[in-house]
């Protein structure tokens, strides 16, 4: 509260509504040259702490990811915790989790772009990078899961003299094709809006960076024609990638929904998984934004409480949607009264593993519902980080409930067994470390803020005086 509000307590509420417009990034413009320099500086300023963290993460990746994976390949799947009937364990949990994380990138970037949500501008790039790197981890996790990973290329439809072909009846094949499509599309979609920023960086760097940016920016100079082409391409991609995004996680859910197992055979799994992906994905975006904001130079200018605020509202809505789908899935299965489903639901909710189920519900529903309605909470970045972390824990547990816990119960009671993870845990930590490492290294060469998009937004936003009030206006650019 400022001094004026103390003097005039009665109108303090109104004052909150008429806050300082410079709180909004779009109404707080900086000259182009200065902003370009800020973004360049944020990439170039690397403290010793960065390298310490990089070194630690590299060691974790080397040991937990590649070391443990090599051991797994050499020894066989026996070193993991999977057994009969839990044939799929944390590997698939991680796969679904990372694909979920990757969804937020496209959601934030493409969906908010086509709906012209202005708050998206400074963090589309940060979210798109999550898509690409998240998919890398999802791919790694699914390869770890294969019993004979060195033959994984047999899923590719390549010509061979025996005339062998992959089976397109298998949901795993659909999944394989969908994830590959999504990886290709999202990489291109990451690259297109990056071109003007790469060109900007090219004009402001020397040495190997100059060569790097010159190669990647494809000779972009910013002429009217180039912008028209680029905008058209981005528009096409933003629309085209949305159905891809929705289909990918639907198809991931079909891996389960198509199977004849109690708890899996559910027609609502498609949208339920999509919403779940957005739930964890948006939470992850918030976490990444907090880290970027608090560690990288000048990022406090670009990423502001208003962005956490907007994302927090979205998270609350998504959490409600998730609860709706969860309830819908649950009530139909429960009311259906199938004997195996009944046993399964009881197993979810009762000891010894009921804490997983209830932690999931608390993290996914109770935490966001109790906190995110509050504007102050939404505008406090570190609180949002913690809420994001809890939601991600909850969503990871949700996949854990759906995969190994549900697999424990089947129609042959003689085979029921509880799953205890083994080498999956270091491998999962390894994928997390690899994700952070890739992101950190990318933050040194890729402008995490789409400068042109922010500048475009700032040009479009103006404050006009209408009588005594100042009104925010946005002009249509496209």
């Amino acid at each position: 509260m400022t001094a004026s509000s103390k003097a005039l307590p009665r109108i303090s509420v109104q004052q909150e509504e008429h806050e300082d417009p410079r709180e909004h990034l779009m109404l707080d413009p900086k000259p182009r040259g200065e902003m370009n320099a800020m973004v360049m500086e944020s990439m170039h300023t690397t403290s010793w702490k960065f390298w310490v963290v990089t070194a630690i993460l590299s060691i974790i990746v080397a040991v937990c990811l590649f070391g443990a994976w090599g051991y797994l390949i050499a020894e066989g799947m026996g070193v993991a915790g999977i057994n009969r009937p839990d044939y799929w364990g944390i590997f698939i949990v991680d796969t679904v989790f990372w694909i979920g994380i990757s969804h937020a990138g496209t959601f934030v970037s493409a969906l908010l772009r086509v709906f012209k949500a202005e708050f998206r501008r400074p963090f589309t790039r940060a979210a798109e990078l999550m898509t690409t790197f998240g998919l890398v981890q999802a791919g790694l996790s699914i390869f770890m899961h294969l019993g004979r990973v060195w033959l994984a290329y047999w899923m590719m439809p390549y010509p061979n003299e025996r005339g062998l072909w992959p089976d397109l009846h298998s949901p795993l094949m659909w999944d394989f094709l969908a994830i590959n499509t999504y990886l290709l599309c999202s990489t291109m979609y990451l690259f297109l809006p990056l071109i003007p920023d790469l060109a900007m960086a090219r004009d402001r760097s020397t040495g190997w960076r100059k060569i790097f940016y010159r190669t990647l920016s494809l000779g972009f100079r910013g002429t009217e024609g180039e912008w028209t082409h680029l905008k058209n391409a981005m528009n096409i991609f933003a629309w085209a990638i949305l159905p891809v995004m929705f289909s990918v996680h639907t198809i991931v859910s079909w891996d389960f929904a198509m199977a004849t197992r109690p708890g899996w055979s559910s027609t609502i799994f498609g949208p339920y998984f999509v919403i779940g992906a957005l739930h964890s994905g948006l939470a992850a975006v918030v976490m990444v934004l907090f880290v970027i904001r608090s560690t990288m130079k000048h990022m406090k200018y670009f990423i502001r409480p208003e962005h956490f605020d907007a994302l927090g509202k979205l998270m609350l809505v998504i959490s409600m949607c998730w609860a709706y789908f969860f309830f819908n899935d649950y009530i139909v299965q429960w009311y259906g009264g199938d004997q195996w489903t009944k046993i399964l639901l009881a197993f979810h909710e009762q000891a010894p593993q009921s804490y997983i189920y209830f932690t999931m519900l608390i993290c996914n529903i109770v935490v966001p519902w109790l906190t995110l309605w509050n504007r102050k909470v939404r505008r406090t970045p570190w609180l949002m980080f913690i809420i994001g972390l809890l939601i991600n824990v909850g969503m990871w547990l949700e996949r854990y409930v759906i995969i190994p816990m549900t697999l424990t119960i089947n129609r042959m009671p003689f085979t029921w067994r509880v799953y205890h993870p083994g080498i999956e845990i270091p491998l999962g930590i390894g994928t997390l470390a690899f994700f952070i490492l890739l992101y950190m290294l990318a933050s040194r060469v890729i402008p995490l803020v789409p400068v042109w998009e922010v500048q475009e937004g700032q040009m479009a936003h103006t404050l006009r005086k209408v009588g005594k009030a100042r009104v925010k206006t946005v002009s249509e650019i496209d």
């Binding site: 020894e75 066989g76 799947m77 026996g78 070193v79 999977i82 057994n83 009969r84 009937p85 839990d86 044939y87 799929w88 899961h145 294969l146 019993g147 004979r148 990973v149 033959l151 994984a152 047999w154 899923m155 062998l164 072909w165 992959p166 089976d167 009846h169 298998s170 949901p171 795993l172 094949m173 394989f176 891996d255 198509m258 199977a259 004849t260 197992r261 697999l407 089947n410 129609r411 042959m412 009671p413 003689f414 085979t415 067994r417 205890h420």
Partner: protein, 246 residues
């Protein structure tokens, strides 16, 4: 193969006994739970020696298992008949369409579910989707203790780590008899093909043969009023009939 009938209520297709080729009958009232079939199957099919620790964790490799259940709670505990469970060789097998590389596929000639070890990449989807949980995954390369390492069956592939396997109805024996019959220019006689489990069963609880020929012993038992199929409501059309009760 098209001798299907339609139930008036649902229009769903139901099989008749004449469908299929090879079938098995397991008489639960005769089964003593002695596990001779399990041992014979392991010998015949080169099944790995898994060891106590892994078996306790649900990684046994046996293609046939004897399920034991009991009813009621102490002190009124009653044993139910032993239930030997092996691959039911479903006509509509849930394991088959889910394999991305055709490692799990249907034999049109024998109407059996095949598992092509060389083609398997180890996604384990087939095992997840098997309602009978009869598939065994090679979790490791287990060591075969001496002198059992000297008795491997040359007619059966030795599987390595990372592939799925399951009961084949001793397809190597079926093929052998078929070849002999063909070279002698005659039909296969009833009871000529005997899988290892049926051969070893001291109580003759397992009967194997052609179920498309109504004169065979297995066909007659299949049509017995004591017969039922495992999880019949799933519509997998299993080829094994269980006999139980009066």
């Amino acid at each position: 193969m098209d001798t299907t009938t339609k139930t008036p209520e649902s229009g769903a297709q139901q099989d008749t006994v004449t469908q299929g080729k090879w079938g098995m009958v397991i008489d639960q009232d005769l089964c003593t739970g002695c596990q001779a079939c399990v041992a014979a199957c392991a010998m015949e099919n080169n099944i790995s020696f898994v060891g106590e620790e892994d078996v306790n964790y649900g990684r046994s490799m046996h293609w046939i298992r004897i399920e034991r259940f009991w009813q009621g709670s102490y002190p009124d505990v009653k044993m139910t008949p032993y239930q030997p469970v092996t691959c039911q060789q479903c006509h509509k097998a849930p394991c088959e369409p889910v394999c991305p590389v055709f490692a799990s596929l249907h034999s049109e000639a024998e109407d059996l579910n095949l598992q092509v070890y060389n083609r398997c990449i180890g996604t384990r989807y087939c095992a997840n989707n098997c309602p009978y949980q009869v598939r065994a995954f090679n979790w490791r390369d287990w060591v075969r203790p001496d002198p059992l390492s000297n008795q491997l069956n040359p007619d059966v592939t030795v599987r390595r780590r990372g592939v799925m396997e399951k009961c084949t109805f001793c397809i190597q024996r079926i093929r052998k008899v078929e070849d002999t019959a063909e070279s002698e220019n005659r039909d296969i006689r009833d009871g000529e093909v005997v899988p290892a489990c049926a051969q070893a069963c001291p109580a003759n609880a397992i009967v194997f043969g052609r179920i498309d020929d109504p004169t065979t012993a297995v066909s007659k038992l299949t049509n017995s009023s004591r017969g039922s199929k495992l999880l019949e409501d799933l519509g997998t059309l299993p080829r094994i009939t269980y006999l139980k009760g009066a």
